[in-house]
Amino acid sequence: MRLTLASVSMITALLTSATAGRAADYAIDPTHSHILFTIEHLGFAKIVGLFTDFNGNISFDANNVPGSKLNVTIKTDSLQTQFAPRDKDLKGADWFNVTEFPEMSFVGTDFVKKDDHTGTITGKLTLHGVTKPVTLNVVVNKVGQNPLDKIDSAGFSARGTLKRSDFGMKTYLGAIGDDIDLIIEIEAKKKS
């Protein structure tokens, strides 16, 4: 009997350990997530734009960050800059070309943990039909149960910069900045 109890206890411990080491899968909650960008306009100010339609999945384990996974898909037609004529221009063939490239995507490939709350994600960004690596600096804000809906959630803030010319988007370079700063705030809910 003692042997049996010991066996059960050992198996339970092993299972618990295995569960703790397994990454949790999350789906991005679009109602509490934001993907914004800023771009310099004639050197005077930075125009802010955002995408309102996107989705994605995250697989994250705080104890095994390099094993994480991330993929995000953004509908380019959801672009907004608070000025309709500019939105029309930006969605056109000269810029995001939403007819030919209705989606842009980011797939994380390299996850590096700096400390308990920060790290970097390098991934492949596909924009305008061109795929290039982009690195994001990430802060893990909180991982835990959402007190309102009782669903396990994770929150991240990410910042990064890319050059639009790398993706063949060279319209009005010089007048309009080449560097695009990314501001990403993500809240993701654990999949049941």
């Binding site: 221009d89 056109g92 063939a93 000269d94």
Partner: protein, 286 residues
């Protein structure tokens, strides 16, 4: 003023037109002089988009460059060959169809009545434009002044399309048009001073197909174009000749003066295009 990229591109294109068109006059015949026009268009593209796009091109705006280049090469070959009139007319019908097909390809998976009608209109309209430009280039009555009249018609077409493109959500098309117009103006200037008949098939197809590719891109890909204003562009290749016949006694105005007047009258529909845009989009132009 030179901080404005449109003005800077137009200035560079004008200087390029002066230099290339001047150098082309060292070479006998009109074939090289005619090829300067599509070179100006391609240079205007590079000035506007700041790149020679990769091949194969990704996206409609990159296709514009290769459409203009391929059409210019075909035109250049036609200029070197004898008796090509039938081939030119055939190509004037086929090339617009190929351009509509290649530019509009991403949308043709979901073909509906509106898209079919638009694509058909672009094909037939493009054919009418190229057909008329080729007639200007080859008809004996026009031959001596083809370079001035033809170049003026191309300039008028681009000047008319520029505001249509701007309202259609393509400010770069406006920039490309303005740069090309400035370069073509330099060619027209040379033709006035030292005529060389620089309006062969390379000019008709190179610049004409480049313009059609821009029109198809704004219409089929950006999808914001005012189709009525766009349709009025069809008046431009005919306005000069019809206007000249109605307004000017043939015996009173001849030679260079008549050519300049025909070329100037070709620009009249631009006013109509702008008026239509003002009436239909007052909020955008106020």
């Amino acid at each position: 003023m030179l901080e404005n990229p449109i003005i800077l591109a137009a200035l560079i294109s004008f200087v390029l037109g002066l230099v290339l068109s001047g150098l082309a006059r060292v070479v006998p015949g009109s074939t090289i002089a005619s090829a300067v026009l599509p070179i100006i268009f391609l240079a205007s593209y590079v000035l506007t988009y700041q790149q020679v796009p990769d091949f194969p091109p990704i996206g409609a705006t990159n296709k514009i460059f290769y459409i203009a280049l391929a059409a210019a090469l075909v035109g250049f070959a036609l200029d070197l060959l004898p008796r090509t009139a039938n081939y030119r007319k055939l190509l004037a019908a086929i090339m617009p169809l190929l351009i509509v097909g290649w530019i509009g390809f991403p949308r043709f998976a979901k073909l509906d009545i509106e898209l079919t009608a638009t694509a058909l209109g672009l094909w037939l309209g493009g054919t009418a434009l190229l057909w008329r430009l080729d007639t200007v280039a080859t008809t004996s009555a026009e031959r001596n002044g083809a370079s001035i009249v033809g170049t003026a018609v191309l300039m008028a077409l681009m000047l008319a399309f520029a505001p249509v493109a701007l309202l259609g959500g393509s400010s770069t098309s406006l920039m490309l048009c303005m740069a090309a117009v400035a370069g073509l103006a330099a060619v027209a200037l040379w033709e006035l001073i030292l005529p060389r008949g620089a309006f062969g098939a390379s000019a008709v197809f190179g610049v004409g197909c480049g313009l059609l590719a821009m029109i198809d891109t704004v219409t089929l890909i950006t999808r914001q174009v005012d189709l009525l204003a766009l349709a009025l562009l069809l008046l431009i290749p005919y306005a000069g000749e019809i206007g000249a016949r109605l307004l000017m006694p043939p015996k009173r105005f001849r030679g260079r003066v008549r050519q300049v007047l025909v070329g100037t009258l070709a620009a009249l529909p631009i006013l109509l295009v702008i008026a239509v845009l003002f009436l239909r989009h007052p909020e955008s132009l106020s």
